[in-house]
Symmetry: C2
Amino acid sequence: MVVCLTRLPSLIFTAQSIRRSPAFPRRRHNFFSLPRLSAASFSTQSAASSPPETEDRVDNLKSRINQERAVTPRSEDFSAWYLDVIANAELADYGPVRGTMVIRPYGYAIWEAIQEYLNVKFKETGHSNMYFPQFIPYSFIEKEASHVEGFSPELAVVTIGGGKELEEKLVVRPTSETIVNHMFTQWIHSYRDLPLMVNQWANVTRWEMRTKPFVRTLEFLWQEGHTAHATPEEAEKEALQMIEVYTKFAYEQTGIPVIAGRKSKVETFAGAVRTYTIEAMMGDRKALQAGTSHNLGQNFSRAFGTQFMDENGQRQHVWQTSWAISTRFVGAIIMAHGDDTGLMLPPKIAPIQIVIVPIWKKENEKAGVLNAASSVKEVLQSSGLKVKLDDSDQRTPGWKFNFWEMKGVPLRIEIGPRDVSSGSVVVSRRDVPGKQGKVFGISMEPSILEAYVKDKLDEIQLSLLGRATLFRDSHIVDVSSYDELKEAISLNKWARGPWSASDADELRVKEETGATIRCFPFEQPEGSKTCLMTGKPAEEVAIFAKSY
Amino acid sequence: MVVCLTRLPSLIFTAQSIRRSPAFPRRRHNFFSLPRLSAASFSTQSAASSPPETEDRVDNLKSRINQERAVTPRSEDFSAWYLDVIANAELADYGPVRGTMVIRPYGYAIWEAIQEYLNVKFKETGHSNMYFPQFIPYSFIEKEASHVEGFSPELAVVTIGGGKELEEKLVVRPTSETIVNHMFTQWIHSYRDLPLMVNQWANVTRWEMRTKPFVRTLEFLWQEGHTAHATPEEAEKEALQMIEVYTKFAYEQTGIPVIAGRKSKVETFAGAVRTYTIEAMMGDRKALQAGTSHNLGQNFSRAFGTQFMDENGQRQHVWQTSWAISTRFVGAIIMAHGDDTGLMLPPKIAPIQIVIVPIWKKENEKAGVLNAASSVKEVLQSSGLKVKLDDSDQRTPGWKFNFWEMKGVPLRIEIGPRDVSSGSVVVSRRDVPGKQGKVFGISMEPSILEAYVKDKLDEIQLSLLGRATLFRDSHIVDVSSYDELKEAISLNKWARGPWSASDADELRVKEETGATIRCFPFEQPEGSKTCLMTGKPAEEVAIFAKSY
C-alpha cells in the first residue's frame, strides 16, 4: 500500500485564529480586512517549509505514509478541518514565499467553473474583457486620498528592474482603480464614449500579515470590473446590478444563501461612496465577505481628471463602479458545505460530478465489471456530465468510497458483478450519508440512467442550498439591545438589529465583541425601528457578526 | 462629425527598429531575444505619454479629430503601419510604465479566441490547469546555471513588502520552471505520480529594453505548460506533441504557415536540452518565433532534486518539458495577414466575423432597412457566428466600410432599400478588395444566407493560409554557400541551407548579416548535404533569417 502518495500532502498552512479588531477599518479593503500587525512580526520565509533537497527521500516517504489519515472532524476543530480538507483533497499547497498559495488542479477546476459562469454573465450585461498592466507607478496610488490610506500598508513594491534601481518605484497592483482611471482619462471624451464597461481576470497582490489558503493570500486571482457612466444614477444601477449577478451566482451555482446588502461607512471600500456586499455564513458561523460591488462616485475621476463632454457641451467627471469576486469564493464553498468527512461540492461547480467505482473480488469478474463501468462513464460523459472512473487496482472499493467522499464528489455510482448481471447500478449521494443516501437497482439503460443522474444532481444542488439556508436562518438572532447583541455574538450567532448609531459606536461593538456590521441587508423588516444602541429612531436593521 | 473619438487614439508606441545582434544569445530566452543594452539607456517613464489631467480637454479633442487618418500604408513603412493598426483598430494602448501594454477589448478578444482553442487541446492531451504564485525567491533563479545566466539581466525584483525591506528579494516570474520544480519535488515520489502534466495561464514579466506592442512587452500574458516524466523518451514525445499542437493551431486557426523545427544550440532556451519552435514569416519577411516547446531533460530536476522511485525501487530524477505561447501571437496575426488598409483577421479568431452595414438615404427607408439588418443579425448570431450590426447614424456607410475593413472583419453584409425589396443582401470579402470581392443578390432566406456566409468564412480562412503560404515560399531561398546566404538575407529573404558548422560560425553569420538560425526544420530535403559554411558533410538544412 505504498501508493497515491501525492494524495497525502502534509499540513501546509499554519492554522491561525483570524480574529479581527482593526482600529482603522476604513483603511482596509473589505475583501481582506485584517488587523494591522506590528511590522516586527513580519518576515519573509523562503521555502522554509519545504524539505531540503538532499534529505533521504525514502524516510520522507515513510513519514508521509504515516500521515495518511482522515481529515480532522469539522465538529472537533473547524480550522484544522479546513486545512486538512485543502491538503487531502489537493485543492492547494503552500508556495515557497510566505502567504502564497499554489492552486492545484482540483482547486483550480472549481475556480474555472466560477469563471465560466461569471464570464458569460459579465458579457451578457455588456462588459468586455481586457487587460491592464500589473505595475502601477507609486504616484498613482497616492492620488485618491482614502485609497492610498487603505492600500499603502499592504503593497508589494518593485524597486529593481533589469538590474537597475528604478527612478520611480512600481506597485504590484493590489487593485486597479488607479491605472484604470489613468487609461479611462485617455479614452473617454464625449458622452458617446459612455458607458465604458470592462472587466479583467487577473492576479492581485496584497501584503497580508495573516494568511489562510483561499480566504486571504498574498497573491490571489480575481475578476475586477470597472465601469464609467454619464450619470450617478447609472453608476448606482450598475453597482446594484453586479451585486445582483453575484447574489444569483452564489445561490444558484454554489448553493450559498448569501445575504446581500450595503456596507456601513466604516466598512466601505477605500475610495468608494457606497459598497455593496454579499455575506456568506460559514460552517463555524463566521461571516465571509464573498463579493463586493462599489459605487465609486466621482472619487477616482476627480483624482485622475476623467472627464467627458455631456450632451450640452459641459465637461463633467464620470461616475464609476468597480466590483470583484476572487479565489476566496473557493474557500467559501469549502466552509459553507463541508462536513466531518471532508469537502461537499455543489454539483454545478464540482470538477467531478460523478465518480464510478467498479467492484470485483474474483479476477474473472474484473473484465465484465470494468466494461460495464466504462460504458456507463461513456454514456454520462457524452451527455455533458463530469465523470471520473476510478478503475485503479491499487486501492480497495472502501478506500475509494472514503477518498471521493472526502473530495466532495456529489454522486457515486457503484458497479459490481451482480449489478452487471442485472443491468443496473447503485447510486450514492454524498450529501446523504450511509444507507439512506444509497439507491439500488438503477437501470444502466442510457436514457434512464442519464435522466436519473441529472435529476439527482439537481436535487443535491437544491438540497445543499436548502440545508445552508436552514443553517443560516437558525443562527441569525433578532436583537433590540446591545446586551442582546453581545449575547448573540457570544453564542457565535449573527445578530440582526436596528442601527442608527455613530461610527464610534460601531467601532466600540467591534472592540467589545469582535463583531462588525457585515451589512445593512437589502431585505428589511417592515415597521418602525429603534436603534439597539442609542434608542433613537433607526431606518434599517444591520447584521453584526464575527468574520474572516 | 465630432464622434467616435475613442476610435482615434494617438500613436502610442515608439516605432523602434528591432534588429538583433546579441553577443550572448544563450543567455536569453528565445521568446524575447534582444540585444542587451547598456544599463544607462534604461529609465522608467511614468505616465510620460499621457496628457496632463489639467489640460484643456476641448483643445485636446480638436487635436485628436485632426489626427483622424487612415493607417500608414504597409507598403510604405511596415513598422509605422503596425503601430497605426494597433492604435486605430484599438487592439492595445500604452501603459503608464515604459514598455507595458494595455490590451483593449478588441485585442483581448483575439487572445480569448487563442485561449479557447488551446485550452481545449491542452485538456484533450491530458493536461490540467493550475496556478503557481508569481513571486519566486531570488535564490531559486540561481539554482540552474544557464537559467540564471539567461534571465538575471531582465528581472523585476520586489524588495519591499508591507512597508518593510524584505529579507530575501522576490523575483516577479519571468517564467516558472524554478517554482514549478520546487513544488514538483514535493508532489512527486513514485513512478505512479508520473507523468505529471500541468498548464497555467498567467502574466509574466521580463525587463526588456526595446519593446513593441504584443511582440515584446515588459509584462505579457501566456500559457506555460510544465510536465514531468519517468523516461527521457516520454519527455521528448511530449515536447514534440506540444509543438505539433502549436503548429496545427497556427495553420488551422490563424492561417499562419509556420515552419516547425528544432533550435540550434545557440538559440536553445536557457535551461533546456532541446528547444522546438514554430517560426512565422511576417509581412516584412522578418521571422517571428511564435511558440516554443522545450525538452528540459534533467536540468531542473537535478537542480531542485525532483526525484521519483522507479518500478525497480531506484531513485531517479524526472525528465521534463515546458512549452509556451503568448500574446505575442496576436502580433504574429497582425503582421502575417494585414495589408495597406489595416488588419485582416482569419475568421476563426476574429472577434467580429461579419459586420452588417445598413444603408439608407431617405428617412422613410430607415425603418425597413434597420428591420431587415436586425433580423439578418439575429439569424447569423443564433447560428453561432460573431456578428456586429453597425447601425449608428453618426457615420456614413462609406466611413463604416473603411473602418471595419481597417479592423479586419472578414465579411461585410450591406443592406439597402433595394435589397430589402428584393429580399437579398450584398456580401463583401475583406480579403478580396473592391468589386471583385463583392457579391450581390444573396438571399436573406435564413438557411440560404447562413450556409452562404459560413461557406465564405471557410473560404476566407483557407485563402488567408494559402496566400501566406505562397508568400512564405516565394521568399525562402535555397543556398549552398555563405555568399548565397548573405545575398538572400540582403534581399530580405529567408535562406535555407545545409549546416553543420560551429556555434562560433553561427554567431559570425549573425554579426555579419543580422540573421540567425531560426530552426532546423522538421521537414528536410532528401539526399546528401554539404555545409554551406565549411563544405563538410551536413545532416540537416537550417533556416536563417532576420527576426523580431
